[in-house]
Amino acid sequence: MHKRRTILPLRTGLIFLAPASLFIAAFILLPFFWIAGVSFTNRSLTGVTAANPEFVGLKNYLKLFDLSSFLQPGQFGSSLVITGQFVFWSAIVGQAVLGLILAWFFYRRTGWVKESVQTLAIIAWIIPDVVVAFAWSAFLDYDGGTLNWLIGLFGGEKVDWLLGLPLLSIIIFNAWRGAAFSMLLFSSAFGSIPPSYLETADVVGAGAWQRLKDIILPLIRTHIVTDLILITLWTFNTFSPFLLTGGGPAFKTEVVSVLTYRVAFKYFDFGAGSAIGMVMMIINLAFALVYLSLLRRQEGTR
């Protein structure tokens, strides 16, 4: 071990850090402790407990994990299951795999097809949520939607997407929306692979699948982990499905962020809402820890 050398002396460093620390304290730490505190009370926005909130200990948490109702529609457990399905299918399978396929397909290719597909994917990613949700509502609408019109052209039966297949609808929506990020990340990862590796593989007669499996995937492993963790966190916290389905019908698309909103801002129950928020934060921290330890392990093996 050698002593770590720094550019700045400690005191100067702290002075430089101070403004950022102040902001972090005011906008992250303070709200965090406030929410942690509220989650142990029955504080609400209206009613007697708005004026005189009381300390209720772990009651809000115990209610979340009340096993007799845990998996009922609209309860925390059911919402977690929905969120899990949503994250797995839309982020991990949808966004990451779709992004990887797009990036792989266009790797070492040029031309207008590549340019236009990539541009479209990026546009899908950068349009504001509300605009996208509005467009998708129009696309999936039962009576006058574009998709059902297309199905009708081919002689198919109309499908009630948002009511009959609500979870599938928001999964496809979110995969479509976020695939561009994974595509961009994987494209740049591919760019970092020395071309000679693949040229050598070509010479010895490796097929496309072998090139992907034996050369490319091992080389971009770090990028894959980064991508998976980031999109998992984002998808876990995203609120945009609300804009399409409002969490319904009958709570079938109520992911945890939408549940938190309903409890805290529709039912005005700040105590219970904060408790859900705290549990979400712990789950997020767990994701982040797994991510950091994976990255560290990879750095160690390098």
Binding site: G47, Y142, G248, A250, F265, K266
Partner: protein, 451 residues
């Protein structure tokens, strides 16, 4: 140079003070949009209230903020505004929100906000105590009510006629069975229709509780809150939920889809306008405003094709107080924001809005059952008839600060049934658990097990 800056600053400061001293403003907000929901109210405000008030009070500016979202979104906005000491000076308010806002001290009694001018207002002597209490809680008055309303079945004479329902011109069911019989005949005649609309589900909010659930439950002889206890399990709840199940799951008398989608209430209005729905339970607002010719959901030839009927008990005599028919009432009005910078002036605006002259003018824009006894209902047979027949039968919601939360559980319970994911008994048991958690088990009663 420095002197010039000082002069400039002095002028600016003086200017700021003088504009404060000479121009005063009052803001009003309501769920009303020109060309949209309650557009008559906007017209009344912009053409009568604001110009007349400003004429009588030079230097005062009154602004109207039109809120176009849902009732639930407006309530949410109010709660958030008031909790941080903001918001408009005069707010259009649904009476049943008062208990939870008052007990949370987000609102204060009128005379605490605007002082003795409130107590000496001439209007109180013209408004009955019952109607004053629409905007009251625990013996205090928090606002002035516009009036009250009643609920009933609206039906399309033309559709019932074509389907062969007897006496379609003057249809009056006397039991729930008569309603489903008519629905079945309409469905047989028009297989693509959704003949019956009785609100259910969470997305319609309070319109599910009062227009749907209440109108059925009252017909079984029960209310959600009886003798100081919340009823969490009962035969009446089961009968009500079973009826929901029958019309939305077992048969297709009503559109299950409309109950579950986000904008279902608007779709139900559109279905009634287009003749896809022949019977719909709503308040008199549906006749006065929603289906009025020229509105978005206006029914052409409304007065020829549209009729109304009393909502029957499950079977004759089975309804609350032994009645054969039921109705439910609520009411809206105006409250003063306790955070108003100028409560005295805000009260003057509110007082003017509820003066005889202003309410007379209002009846020209939007005739209704007025709060003031010196404001006659204009020549409207519909209003005079429904008021005289239904007001004696009607029931109001409990004036209780837990009501709003219980009401959300009622909406959830109906959604669990009409979506087909629970049986009536399962949904009722979930409701019982949730309500016990909200109000405390001591304040509930189980009429099935005698508890």
């Amino acid at each position: 140079m420095a002197k010039r800056i000082t002069t400039l600053l002095t002028l600016l400061i003086l200017g700021a003070f003088s504009s404060q001293a000479f121009s005063q403003s009052v803001s009003i907000v309501c769920r009303c949009v020109a060309g949209g929901v309650s557009s008559n109210q906007v017209a009344w405000m912009l053409e009568y209230v604001i110009p007349e008030f400003e004429k009588a009070h030079p230097g005062v500016t009154v602004t109207l903020n039109q809120f176009g979202g849902s009732d639930e979104a407006l309530k949410q906005q109010y709660a958030l505004d008031l909790s941080v000491g903001k918001g408009n000076d005069v707010m259009g308010f649904d009476g049943f929100w008062i208990p939870e806002f008052a007990s949370g001290r987000l609102l204060k009694p009128l005379n605490q906000v605007a002082g003795s001018a409130v107590d000496s207002w001439e209007g109180w002597s013209h408004i009955s105590e019952g109607i004053q209490n629409i905007m009251g809680y625990n013996g205090e008055i928090y606002g002035i009510a516009n009036g009250t309303d009643v609920r009933m079945i609206f039906y399309r004479k033309d559709i019932l006629e074509k389907a062969g329902v007897p006496n379609a011109d003057n249809w009056q069911p006397v039991a729930w069975q008569d309603i489903t019989d008519a629905a079945s005949m309409v469905l047989a005649a028009f297989p693509d229709s959704a003949p019956l609309q009785i609100n259910a589900g969470t997305s319609m909010g309070e319109a599910t509780t009062l227009q749907g659930y209440y109108m059925l439950l009252l017909g079984t002889g029960e209310e959600p809150y009886m003798n100081g206890k919340w009823v969490v399990r009962s035969q009446g709840i089961l009968d009500t939920l079973q009826f929901y199940r029958e019309i939305y799951v077992d048969t297709k008398y009503g559109s299950q889809r409309v109950q579950l989608v986000k904008d279902g209430r608007d779709q139900s209005f559109a279905n009634f306008r287009d003749g896809k729905t022949a019977m719909l339970v709503e308040g008199d607002w549906f006749y006065r405003s929603v289906t009025a010719p020229g509105s978005e959901y206006g029914v052409e030839n409304r007065d020829e094709v549209m009729g109304w009927a009393k909502m029957p008990a499950r079977i004759p005599g089975a309804a609350i107080r032994g009645q054969d028919f039921v109705s439910a009432s609520g009411g809206t009005g105006w409250v003063l924001n306790p955070n108003s910078a100028n409560p005295g002036l805000a009260w003057e605006v509110m007082e003017f809005m509820n003066s005889k002259a202003a309410r007379d003018a209002y009846q020209k824009y939007q005739p209704g059952i007025a709060a003031r006894d010196d404001v006659p209902v204009p020549n409207s047979p519909f209003l005079t008839q429904t008021a005289s027949v239904l007001l004696p039968l009607t029931v109001s919601r409990p004036n209780n600060d837990d009501y709003a939360k219980v009401s959300e559980q009622i909406q959830l319970m109906t959604e669990n049934v009409v979506s087909g994911q629970m049986t009536p008994r399962q949904a009722m048991d979930v409701y019982a658990g949730a309500v016990r958690g909200i109000v405390g088990a001591d304040n509930t009663v189980d009429l099935l097990n005698g508890n």
